[in-house]
Symmetry: C2
Subunit: 381 residues, 2 copies
């Protein structure tokens, strides 16, 4: 029997969902979707959610129907997988360097609206060559390091790199300079709202300096794109970012929920869960059948949903649960009982699964409304 053969069908109750399973609370997800779409509309910014988080064409379609201009991805193969499933406006918000991969980028740019980030002269030249050889055109964002210390050029170097992009502009070349990529990943997970606001301000000042560098080079900088679920409200308020790339707002993992909420920041609900089952039971602990091959622990353990239980340890195929301080022994679930886990980090958790089971009507008495394939799962190249 294949993994697909054990999937539930539309109309099944939640009890029929085999464990472990990746379950979406559709009602909560739709509220999150509407909240962020409203925020973007109200604040006059574009929304291009990061599909590296959900990796699913059905969800990208819901986001675009709610007003998103398209989605971001991080990998060429993610873009290919989502394009093959019907997503037609994609931004690879990351650098691609290998010539063979750039040839795939160029081929894809002939089928969908495609953008990509660059942060080196060598990268620009290689991209330009690939596009010219394919006769393709692509939107290009110059990535600026706004505090993350990972990819991106220093702010002052943005103008020079933009010039290199513009030197390959149509009709002779295939690179359309579109603006700046400015994302501060580490800022998203600072626990205090004031800390995140300060990091956002710092990022805004660097993005602003980068924009000035581009303008000083005589090039129009139409858009700064970036921002995540931890800082988007601060970023939008800065007036620098014209496009938000937040992704996790849709599912809200344990790690993001551990952030102290910011002022003027809309709240999001947990909408992604791993359904697990107690498969072994001691006198003071219960073991569920979902370890870190079912939910990623890079940002810490999952949280047990609405029970007085804490996660004691997580191994490949098991998680050990104990009564939380102040709980009573009868809170410990019985053998065979269902336990819902809120993943520590949604992006790599989703990447472990082949499908979402989308449930309407809540986790207790809900009904399966859809089973969505995660088309870009495992698309790491």
């Amino acid at each position: 029997m294949s993994a697909a053969a054990s999937l539930p069908r539309r109309g099944d109750g939640v009890a029929a969902i085999d464990t472990p399973a990746l379950v979406v609370d559709l009602d909560a997800m739709e509220r999150n979707l509407a909240t962020m779409a409203d925020f973007a509309r109200t604040h006059g910014v574009r929304l291009r959610p990061h599909a590296k988080m959900h990796k699913c064409a059905a969800i990208a379609a819901l986001q675009m129907a709610a007003g998103a201009v398209g989605v971001c991805v991080q990998k060429t193969s993610e873009a290919e997988a989502l394009a093959a499933a019907g997503v037609d406006d994609l931004y690879i918000s990351n650098e691609v360097i290998a010539p063979a991969k750039l040839a795939r980028v160029a081929a894809l740019a002939q089928r969908v609206r495609l953008a990509i980030a660059v942060d080196s002269q060598e990268g620009v030249e290689r991209l330009a060559t690939a596009m010219r050889e394919a006769g393709a055109v692509i939107d290009v964002f110059v990535e600026v390091d706004v505090g993350q210390g990972r990819c991106g050029v220093p702010a002052a170097a943005a103008g020079m790199l933009a010039q290199r992009v513009v030197s390959h502009a149509p009709p002779d070349g295939g690179l359309c300079f579109s603006g700046l990529q400015a994302y501060h990943g580490a800022a998203q997970h600072l626990r205090g709202a004031a800390e995140r606001e300060a990091a956002s301000r710092h990022a805004a000042s660097l993005a602003s300096a980068a924009r000035a560098s581009v303008t000083a080079a005589g090039i129009a900088c139409r858009l700064v794109t970036g921002a995540g679920t931890g800082t988007f409200a601060f970023d939008a308020a800065s007036g620098i970012w014209g496009e938000l790339q937040a992704g996790s707002y849709l599912f809200m993992d344990r790690d993001y929920a551990d952030n102290a909420p910011g002022p003027n920041t809309p709240r999001f609900e947990h909408a992604l869960f791993v359904k697990s089952q107690v498969m072994s039971r001691g006198t003071s602990h219960a073991v569920v059948d979902a370890g870190h091959k079912s939910h990623a622990v890079d940002s810490g353990p999952p949280r047990v949903w609405r029970r007085e239980l804490e996660v004691g340890s997580v191994s490949d195929e098991h998680a050990v649960l104990r009564i939380r301080s102040g709980g009573v022994a009868t809170d410990l679930p019985q053998l065979g009982e269902t336990v819902w886990l809120v993943p520590g980090h949604c992006d790599p958790t989703v990447n472990l699964h082949g499908h979402y089971v989308a449930v309407r009507g809540g986790l207790e008495r809900g009904v399966v409304e859809a089973v969505w394939p995660i088309e870009a799962r495992g698309c790491i190249t």
Copy 2:
């Protein structure tokens, strides 16, 4: 283009392997394979390597050709996937509680030689029901908690549970009591050899007590199965374990290599790598295209292979590399350069990939000899 379409072909050089990719150094793997097979033969114990680590039928076949009696798995769907790919002797060394899943176990037991672990009376009864309804027979091991504090009954309770298993013996029932499952996962990763030896001794004393409990119940206990890559030499020396389940010896991840080697324990080489490429380069750091969606970080970051570099941070799709203390600036790799990573933990790393690229002749100048599908990847149910 699908992920499979970007896979290399037999005869390609390593340069043709797109990144990130999961690469096996075949020469190193075969030496590890032979070393463990020799150890088992020399010490008169059976070897049933854990396929939860590699999840691959081709590798299981190599292990069985070298003398392994079969393989272990942790999940019903893993057993199904490997059986479908030709593996015919499987042990689910873990508890299964859901009746729908037990029906699948029973169906599988009619197609291959199958064993399973139990650690509760309820589990025995449910398993017996499923086997009876299918008219199937399965080998059953009673799991004993030998120090891990996860699954398993206390040693003194083993006899009573074995009696319950025996009460469903053929010809009337479908449960063949086969012995004890005794695995101490946490002991594998204790850094000091003396600590691991002490944990193994403690586990052996509990396994011995459990065996006495079974014997006192008038039941023959033919086999104690368990042990891992960190303790197998101590476990084999105890005379308690008749079957070793070590899995990671084949690939040797960074975490196992960080253990201080034990006396009389054969050495294993790193044989599993993630090929990555520098896709962004700063003045004092380089960023490769392989984050924790390409190599699991639950046991810590990967190690950079044979370069004076350390891993500064790992995010979903990136890893930031810096010069190790004592290194010189010219050690920092250039944009586009290949960097080989030794994964922190092989089991969940393998689970992130669809294929192994098996290379003969070393990582520098080797040639692709095979591309093996990871059939049980993502088989979590």
